[in-house]
């Protein structure tokens, strides 16, 4: 017991040191305001979603920020930076789950003093961050996550916006593409990753197909776990049911593995694959995906993006920097950054001034802006959710060159539920008010 006194004082000293350390961190780190327009960019830099989504998105963000700071973009985005203010991107990793993302979001806003946040591939992260964005009154754009619950669960959102489309649009569009190109199919099947994304996608697709293709039936559905990588058993189970269409919302490595294995086993020769996220691996399929496989890009993005001046600049700059064409996550990131720039310059503040979060929100709410994917209308969820058309097409590989054939586009009004109606209700009622071209 002779050491007790010494231990106790040492204990106090070390706790005091720990407190001083945290206090020092607290005061030292808040000196981040430097007159630049600081944008937090959150996307996967590690883990399974980094390769297909995160890295192309982060690369696109770097291209856009660099291009905007040099004033290189074509009109109407030819003004330097954002509203004449130089942009500084703070890129952080989305890996690690919702609790960590809430923590990092608070750090971005309160410690790093960013003026706006753009990010989130994972729907769970979007849902967790949305209430925090409202609490901290920070202008936030969800650029990729697909959950229809984002604005359903946060009905009074003021600061949260989404410039990408939700997952219902993908699957209503997929069913419409089948009607447009293969109206006689009757035997449908699906293979989905067993988590929210796969479950929701399959529910929307089967509901839409039941209305649009009343003669069709679901002959088989498979829900392997995410990141499984080996799909031999599932492919056999699908093959024996002789489906005409194999719908899948797989993405990333899982999707490439599925295409490779299903193609080798002949499933994709007998049946047509329909991959709602298929465009993300457009450049890597080569001859390993069969011609005629239907792929989507979750909107008019990536290889489906139109030939406009903005997209020509973006593709050129992206190609020059990374020697690749941008895939859909990259286009979506570019769209979100252009949305932010539009919001700032439409907010009615003086030149070279950084608008407040309220001004940014009023600048984009319900607005229509030009983007790399064409015209974007912020026409749903009280002006917070983008509405755009969607395009599907068939993969075609010939002479070492991949291309898209038989592309069919559907307008936003054709695939998006009206304001205030959930996708499930809209599909169940038979798409009332849909305007298809």
């Amino acid at each position: 017991m002779k050491n007790n006194k010494a231990t106790f004082s040492k204990y106090l000293v070390s706790s005091a040191a720990a407190l001083a350390l945290t206090a020092g961190i607290a005061s030292g780190a808040s000196a981040a305001e430097n007159g630049k327009f600081r944008v937090g960019i959150v996307t996967f830099l590690s883990g399974a979603a980094a390769g297909p989504f995160g890295v192309p998105s982060a690369n696109a963000a770097k291209i856009l920020v660099e291009g905007l700071n040099k004033g290189e973009l074509p009109a109407p985005y030819d003004k330097m930076g954002i509203n004449g203010v130089e942009i500084e991107a703070v890129i952080i990793d989305e890996a690690g789950g919702a609790t960590k993302q809430v923590e990092e979001y608070r750090n971005l806003v309160q410690r790093q003093k960013v003026d706006a946040v753009i990010g989130y591939v994972s729907s769970g992260d979007c849902l967790a961050v949305a209430p925090v964005a409202e609490e901290l009154k920070t202008f936030t754009i969800a650029y990729d996550c697909g959950t229809p619950r984002l604005f359903a669960d946060n009905a009074g959102a003021q600061y949260m916006f989404r410039t990408g489309l939700d997952a219902s649009v993908d699957n209503i569009g997929a069913a419409r593409y089948l009607v447009a190109t293969r109206p006689d199919v009757t035997r449908l099947s699906g293979i989905q990753q067993n988590y929210s994304w796969g479950q929701d996608s399959w529910a929307d697709f089967t509901a839409a197909a039941a209305k649009l293709l009343p003669e069709s039936e679901i002959v088989e559905e498979q829900f392997p776990k995410i990141y499984q990588g080996q799909y031999g058993a599932e492919i056999s189970a699908l093959s024996v049911k002789r489906p005409e269409i194999v719908h899948s919302s797989f993405w990333g490595g899982d999707m490439e593995a599925l295409v490779l294995q299903a193609n080798a086993r002949g499933l994709l020769e007998d049946a047509t694959g329909l991959l709602t996220c298929g465009e993300a691996s457009f450049a890597t399929y080569k001859d390993q995906a069969p011609n005629g496989m239907i792929i989507g890009a979750r909107g008019p993005f990536g290889a489906f993006a139109p030939d406009n001046a903005l997209n020509t600049w973006f593709k050129g700059a992206y190609n020059a920097a990374y020697d690749l064409d941008p895939v859909y996550p990259a286009t979506k990131m570019a769209q979100a950054i252009l949305g932010l720039k539009f919001a700032a310059e439409n907010a009615g503040v003086a030149d070279k001034e950084i608008p407040t979060a309220e001004q940014l929100a009023s600048g984009i709410k319900g607005a229509t802006f030009e983007s790399v994917s064409g015209t974007v209308q912020m026409a749903r969820a009280n002006g917070h959710q983008a509405m755009q058309g969607i395009t599907y097409g068939e993969y075609h590989y010939e002479d070492d060159k991949a291309s898209i054939v038989n592309a069919v586009s559907f307008s936003g009004e054709c695939v998006t539920p009206p304001e205030g109606v959930s996708a499930a209700e809209w599909i169940a009622e038979g798409f009332p008010g849909a305007q298809c071209n």
Binding site: S30, I92, E103
Partner: protein
């Protein structure tokens, strides 16, 4: 009731922390809240480590605590935070009492793997429950404390922070007494030589059973506080990487003292958040090297920095 020096200094530090909360920025309060709630889960891991069992599935109770708080508000109209936390603890105790019957038959890697398996079963169930938002989870909001509804923002953040500090203090004092008491010391004896403990006329199995249930309740409290602070729960809470993080923090702190998990959790959070800020592409590597450094240079954890001179003595 007499308080020893550790308890008094813990109380003083807790008071200092609460006061510190009034002057520190929001992000730091949030970081500390999450770190301290996770430290409660780590306390559960450490309690079992003392008796020689490594739980690779403490996320199970972390998740039960979080989901009970979330579901209580969402589906059963339990908006009082204290009642929801208590319910979370109760559910965790019931689950632990059932699982403990099986788990306490096993030791070493078998215990670790079996506890991991149960936590992954919960993960699987939650992923399949679309009413609970599957992998996306759902929000936790509109909670009150004794009928008082703190305003969203700084107010509610401060409230959770204070609740976490108080819970941490109470649990720390209880665990401190537990480890000093006869039963706590026997837990260590079980780790050293189980057969001898049996010859002393005690049943190691029921000791471990009690310890397991107690650890579960502490972990569930941590999960509930995390849910209140974050405002969102998702099945990731029961995933094995989450449980791995708790073991990481436990190893970082060491078993030397009841304060070690709290300090380790704060160090872990600070190191992680700054690595994410400064090296966004390789932050995991920084965490890895930190753990490697601690294992190589401080095999008894960060606490050995404090108690190094006593190395000859039994800690």
């Amino acid at each position: 009731m007499r308080f020893d020096r550790t308890e008094i200094s813990l109380a003083l530090i807790a008071i200092a922390c609460v006061l510190f909360g009034f002057v520190s920025p929001g992000w730091l309060i949030f970081l500390l809240t999450i770190a301290l709630s996770k430290a409660l889960v780590v306390q559960g891991v450490v309690m079992q480590m003392r008796s020689g069992l490594v739980s690779f599935g403490q996320g199970l109770f972390y998740c039960i605590g979080g989901y009970t708080v979330g579901m209580g508000g969402q589906f059963f109209g339990i908006h009082d935070a204290i009642a929801a936390l208590a319910l979370g603890i109760a559910v965790a105790i019931v689950v632990a009492m059932i699982l403990g019957l099986l788990l306490t038959r096993y030791r070493d890697i078998f215990f670790a793997m079996l506890s991991l398996a149960f936590s992954m079963i919960l993960f699987g169930i939650l992923v399949k429950s679309q009413e609970l938002g599957s992998t996306d989870g759902f929000n936790v909001h509109n909670w009150t404390v004794f009928g008082w509804a703190p305003e969203t923002g700084a107010d509610s953040q401060q409230t959770v922070f204070t609740m976490t500090i108080l819970a941490g203090l109470v649990i720390a004092i209880m665990i401190h007494r537990y480890t000093k008491a006869g039963i706590g010391v026997i837990c260590e004896a079980v780790r050293e030589n189980e057969v001898r403990v049996e010859y002393l006329g005690l049943s190691p199995r029921w000791l471990l059973y009690g310890n397991y249930v107690a650890a579960a309740s502490v972990s569930a409290l941590g999960g509930g506080l995390t849910a209140l602070a974050t405002g969102h729960v998702d099945p990731e809470m029961a995933y094995w990487t989450t449980s791995g993080e708790f073991i990481f923090i436990a190893l970082l702190g060491g078993l030397g003292h009841v304060a070690a998990p709290f300090i380790a959790a704060i160090v872990f959070s600070v190191v992680r958040t700054y690595s994410i800020e400064f090296v966004p592409n390789t932050w995991q590597m920084i965490l890895g090297f930190t753990l490697l450094g601690v294992i190589v240079f401080l095999p008894k954890g960060l606490w050995s920095l404090v108690s190094r001179e006593k190395s000859g003595e039994r800690t």
